[in-house]
Structure formats: structure tokens, C-alpha cells
């Protein structure tokens, strides 16, 4: 490769914008239906259990709510264990009521594994 070629490539890359995304200050825009952390809309959920059945990793389990919400939400609702989940989105596609949605949040790092279990909670004021 002749020396001229090297200098040309050198200047070309010297003045072109580097392709690095400087993460904490700038970030690439995550597209609309990215498969990240789950979000359950408990009012629409009828507790049919299809998401627990289709999940390949058995990360979804149907559980009751704690006592104080039992009378308002008597049925069983999906509890998502993100430690087992492979974020494939099958539960989101199979849900007949479309109440389980995968959001764009990916920042889930935790020192202890039990903190990633998402129990179904009503979206109340508390």
C-alpha cells in the first residue's frame, strides 16, 4: 500500500467524526418496541395464565396478591422473575388482553438476585 494511500486514509479518519457513542453523556435511541423490563397493567389482566404456560424459562408464575388488595383483585396474576427471563416477548405476544408490555428499561443490575422478582402490584397512589 503506497505511502500516499496511508496518509490519505489517515487524514480521512482524523477529521471524520468517531463512531464512539459516549455512553453516559450521549446514548443511541432505543427503538419503540424494544424487549426490556416488563410492565403489567393489572386492571386489564384476567389471570388466564397463558403467559405462564408459554414462557420457555418458567419465569412467569401466577400468584395471588397480598391480603390488602385481595378483595379488589381476587384472581391470580403473573409474577415475573427477571433472573430467569430471557426477554423473548412471547408472553407479550400471547396475552389476549395485551396487558403485559415490555418497556425500554435495561438498567437492572443488582448485587443480590432476589431483587429482580417483579411481584404484581396494583398501580395505586401508595
Amino acid at each position: 500500500m503506497s505511502m500516499l494511500k496511508t496518509i490519505e486514509v489517515l487524514f480521512e479518519t482524523l477529521f471524520s467524526k468517531p463512531m464512539t457513542v459516549k455512553f453516559p453523556y450521549e446514548a443511541i435511541e432505543i427503538p419503540e418496541d424494544y424487549r426490556g423490563e416488563h410492565e403489567l397493567d393489572i386492571d386489564k389482566c384476567v389471570g388466564c395464565g397463558l403467559c405462564a404456560e408459554i414462557c420457555p424459562n418458567r419465569a412467569v408464575e401466577m400468584v395471588e396478591l397480598p391480603e390488602e388488595h385481595k378483595e379488589k383483585y381476587p384472581k391470580t396474576y403473573p409474577r415475573l422473575d427477571l433472573g430467569k427471563c430471557c426477554f423473548c416477548g412471547l408472553c407479550q405476544d400471547i396475552c389476549p388482553r395485551k396487558c403485559l408490555k415490555l418497556t425500554k428499561n435495561v438498567f437492572l443490575a443488582t448485587p443480590d438476585p432476589s431483587a429482580v422478582i417483579k411481584n404484581p402490584m396494583p398501580k395505586g397512589p401508595q
Binding site: P18, M19, T20, V21, K22, F23, P24, A27, P56, N57, R58, D81, L82, G83, K84, C85, C86, F87, C88, V106, F107, L108, A109, T110, P111, D112, P113, V116
Partner: protein
């Protein structure tokens, strides 16, 4: 406890990483090392031998054969060290929960400082985990029955 934390504090600006990537992590490590995310901006450099490494990146499932090597690597690393486990397979067996040859919980074999769920986790999640672990290091005992007792001593 305190002296371990001070030792770890020195670690923050230059984090030398040894990656024991079984399979999934490898395809997510490349963007980290590549020029798009470029983890060397934070002083995170991949070293060839565990002897120079401070942080052990373990990603993907570990088979019975590869966990033996991972333990040897963990013991070879000099003392102020941290272990970052990427992916769901390290927390609970993940997608291969019913496979006869994979390790279900990494914490039984290697003390893990921080887990990153995700299959595999995004580069941003890995950066955020590194930020988390290195800012309040020492306060968090490594997770794992066998090793937690040793840590208290």
C-alpha cells in the same frame, strides 16, 4: 472489611478485565470492546491472563467442564477482585434450566459481586453495572453461601 474496601478503591480508575465468556456474553462483549461503545474510555482493558485482571466478567451459561476452569481463573486473580455475572443463566440457569450439563446458580461456585439480568444484557447495562459496583465497593459482600462466611472474617 474496611481494608478490603480501600484496596478496591485503588481499582476504580484502571479496571483490568479478564473475560470468561462462554457463548452469549461473547456476542455482547464485542460491541463493548468495539469502537462503537469502546469500554476503554473508562480504563476497562481486556487482559490476556487472569494474573493481571481485577475484574472477572462471567457471561452465559457454564457447563460442568467450563466451571472448573472458571474457578481456577477466579483463584488465579490477585486479591482486590470483583466478579460481574452477565445474563440470566448465571442467576438461575435461565434458558437451560432443564439441561443436565449446565450450572444453575453461579453463586455456588464463584462469589459474585453483581448480577446483570438480560439475555444477553445491553452494553449500557454492563456500563451501568460497572459504575454501580465501583462507586460503593466493599460495602457489598460477595453473594454466595460458601463465600459469604469467609467474607465476614
Amino acid at each position: 472489611m474496611v481494608e478490603q474496601a480501600t484496596k478496591m478503591k485503588r481499582l476504580i480508575n484502571a479496571i483490568w478485565i479478564f473475560n470468561w465468556f462462554n457463548s452469549c456474553g461473547f456476542c455482547e462483549l464485542i460491541p463493548l470492546v468495539g469502537s462503537r461503545w469502546d469500554m476503554e474510555r473508562f480504563g476497562m482493558i481486556i487482559t490476556g491472563t487472569p494474573r493481571h485482571a481485577d475484574v472477572l466478567f462471567i457471561a452465559g451459561y457454564q457447563t460442568l467442564k467450563s466451571i472448573k476452569r472458571a474457578q481456577v481463573i477466579y483463584e488465579q486473580m490477585p486479591d482486590p477482585k470483583a466478579v460481574i455475572a452477565l445474563g440470566a443463566c448465571t442467576m438461575s440457569g435461565g434458558m437451560y434450566w432443564d439441561s443436565y450439563n449446565t450450572v444453575k446458580r453461579l453463586a455456588d461456585y464463584i462469589p459474585v459481586n453483581i448480577y446483570i439480568p438480560g439475555c444477553p444484557p445491553r452494553p449500557e447495562a454492563v456500563f451501568e453495572a460497572c459504575m454501580k459496583i465501583f462507586h460503593h465497593v466493599g460495602a457489598v459482600p460477595p453473594h454466595g453461601k460458601k463465600f459469604a462466611k469467609a467474607h465476614k472474617g
